[in-house]
């Protein structure tokens, strides 16, 4: 393993216990260009992001809106594959110390082999996984021991429709943070942070969960970042970052981050 001193879960825990609000950035690996993965990670570290989610592109991203769908299609067209991404990440821990999470759909992981996938994650220094279509019960029944063996944290989603009982179950199954989907939506849909969202944010805050929450979906500027983090530890920006990459490429990253969190 080429990772630095910190074990993966520690790298995540260190980031999550920082004071202040956390900014996590999602991007699709292989977009806009196949070889952009490492330059993007370098820039995000330099720009002061707190956490990164690297998206493994999938042909049929059910939970994603048009922006991330399109970036996935282009990334696949550019030749991105699971094996390719791991090759690109080889040695990343010599340059980047940000916590890194791989986010993708379950089928490519299943085809790679769950165990082989987790082993490669550990080898290159990945800290956690987000697999939106791997349900909690299936994870608990079949895969938890594998992730634990490789020191990977599994991050679960909750939405405004998730019951309190289910949220507590998810909190118990988590070991880093909870991904709080801001509204009933696919990615990139901004339904506003109106009273319904505020009530949802407050409800979750009042549950006093063991793990911090990061809010994602529909966050793209300083205002939505502030609104989302009033009651949560941090927020995740995806589609807006993809649009930035499309328009300005890697060169635009630093000023983008500065605008979100002056």
């Amino acid at each position: 393993m080429s990772s630095a001193s910190a074990t993966p879960v520690n790298r995540l825990h260190t980031a999550l216990s920082k004071p202040g609000k956390l900014l996590s950035i999602y991007f699709t690996a292989g977009f806009p260009r196949l070889e952009d993965t490492v330059p993007i990670l370098r820039e995000l570290e330099a720009a002061g992001a707190d956490l990164v989610e690297i998206g493994l592109p999938f042909s049929d991203p059910l939970a994603d809106g048009p922006t991330i769908q399109q970036s996935s299609t282009e990334a696949l067209h550019n030749g991105m594959t699971t094996a390719r991404l791991f090759e690109q990440l080889e040695g990343i821990r010599r340059e980047v110390s940000l916590p890194l999470i791989l986010m993708g759909y379950f089928n490519p992981v299943l085809q790679f082999g769950v165990e082989a996938f987790c082993r490669r994650c550990a080898e290159v220094g990945i800290d956690g996984l987000i697999l939106p279509d791997l349900p909690l019960d299936s994870y608990e029944r079949e895969y938890r021991p594998i992730l634990e063996r490789y020191g990977l944290s599994m991050v679960f989603l909750i939405s405004p429709q998730t019951s309190n009982a289910r949220i507590r179950q998810i909190d118990d199954a988590s070991d880093s943070f909870i991904y709080m989907v801001s509204s009933a939506s696919t990615t990139g849909v901004q339904k506003g942070f109106g009273t319904a969202q505020q009530a949802y944010f407050e409800r979750i805050e009042s549950l006093g969960l063991q793990h911090p929450q990061l809010v994602g979906f529909g966050i793209g500027d300083a205002d939505s970042f502030r609104a989302a983090t009033t009651h949560a530890k941090g927020a995740i920006i995806g589609s807006a970052f993809i649009r930035l990459l499309r328009e300005e490429g890697v060169a635009g990253i630093r000023s983008f981050i500065k605008k979100i969190r002056p």
Partner: protein
């Protein structure tokens, strides 16, 4: 319950389950916990049965096909689902699901469609119940099934084009699932085949099982025995097949044949023959056989038939294939088109091109002479006239 039916975790052997994003968990969980109780409710059954008889026109005939029988040297019966209101078996399921949606208090309906038959059947029951309806349809299918697009619009539904991927059934299903994620409270998603997360495959199979229930008693009446030697259906997602097989799954003497779309040929790269080309994976929240790359990306299928142009197959069928209970036979575009034309000329019935794939097994020699065979005639071919015209240069 035999091993061919779904288990308490929502699996058929290793296939099935509910690989859904958490955003859909409450909806799917609500269905999972309610569907068996609702289906068992006598008031629900009474309403369902009444609509199937008075509105859909059930029971559909089991027609002894004299000239096909003569030609192929077997006794061949056709189960006439093409005579259902709206022209295909799809309406059996949409009647069931709309009644279920009403009991769940849902006020908006969405659906995906390939050939447009399920879209029409959904738009129809939404008109009947006064519910707004949005149907997602691949842009390619909108072009090749124009009459059904017009029918849906006339029935008051909104047809939204799916423009991603291969712009066919798979992509329409993606869009419908995304709509559901965005509208989880008021909306029910009427899936059109035995695909998707548990409990959909089982629920849809139960609604369609009226087909085999009727075949059993009709065959008993006609032949003095409930069981054919061969039972044949085409498989896209597999709903007409699931309905035709349902009450025969545990009767091992009945040989089950499944016709799948080979497109231009299994090895041409333009095919939708899932059992031949698929490997275990996850599509539309179900673990099943699907066509995919080594990297786990879902492959774009091809078939002349919009209703069979799907890279996966329902988990029940993956299980029937894996256990050998059903024999899957790939049928090319050309074989299907010839079989469709043959039925038109011999029996005066123009079948849907999906159905033509099942009929093609006769000419392909899959049914030994002297057998008693039932073919599920899943739908009529009005929607496919343009494809028949272009293919046979009839204009």
């Amino acid at each position: 319950m035999s091993s061919y039916h779904v288990d308490e975790n929502g699996f058929y052997g290793e296939f099935g389950g509910a690989f859904i994003p958490e955003m859909l968990y409450p909806n799917v969980e609500e269905l999972r916990t309610c569907y068996l109780d609702i289906l068992a409710d006598p008031a629900f059954q009474a309403e369902f049965r009444q609509l199937l008889s008075d509105y859909v026109g059930r029971p559909t005939p089991l027609y002894y096909s004299v000239r096909l029988s003569e030609k192929y040297g077997s006794k061949i019966y056709l189960k006439r689902e093409d005579l259902c209101h709206t022209g295909a078996h799809k309406v059996n399921n949409t009647i069931g699901q709309i009644l279920l949606a009403k009991r769940l208090g849902k006020t908006r309906i969405i659906a995906e469609t390939g050939a447009g038959q399920h879209g029409v059947a959904t738009a129809t029951v939404c008109a009947l119940m006064g519910l707004p309806c949005v149907v997602y349809m691949g842009a390619v299918d909108i072009a090749r099934q124009a009459p059904n697009v017009a029918r849906m619009k006339l029935l008051g539904a909104e047809v939204r084009a799916a423009t991603s991927g291969s712009r066919t059934l798979k992509d329409a299903t993606n869009e419908a699932i995304r709509d559901w994620i965005n509208n989880p409270v008021d909306t029910h998603y009427i899936i059109g085949s035995v695909v998707g997360p548990h409990p959909y495959p089982d629920m849809v199979a139960r609604f369609q099982s009226v087909i085999s229930e009727e075949i059993q008693s009709q065959l008993q009446e006609a032949e003095g025995r409930p069981d054919p030697d061969y039972l044949i259906a085409c498989v896209g997602g597999g709903s007409n097949a699931a309905g035709a097989y349902y009450h025969y799954l545990d009767r091992p003497d009945v040989k089950i044949l499944a016709a799948e779309a080979a497109g231009k040929g299994v090895d041409t790269g333009e095919s939708a023959a899932t059992s031949a080309l698929g490997r275990v994976g996850i599509i539309h929240a179900s673990k099943t056989l699907l066509m995919q790359t080594d990297d786990g990306q879902i492959t774009e299928p091809y078939s002349i038939s919009a209703g069979l142009d799907y890279p996966g197959v329902g988990p029940l069928h993956a299980h029937l294939f894996a256990t050998g209970r059903a024999t899957f036979i790939p049928v090319t575009d050309a074989e299907a088109m010839q079989a469709g034309r043959e039925l038109a000329e011999l029996e005066g019935i123009i079948p849907a091109i999906e159905t033509s794939h099942a009929l093609a097994l006769l000419a392909m020699g899959s049914v030994p002479k002297g057998s008693l065979a039932v073919i599920n005639l899943s739908g009529r071919g009005d929607k496919d006239l343009q494809t028949y015209i272009d293919y046979f240069k009839l204009a």
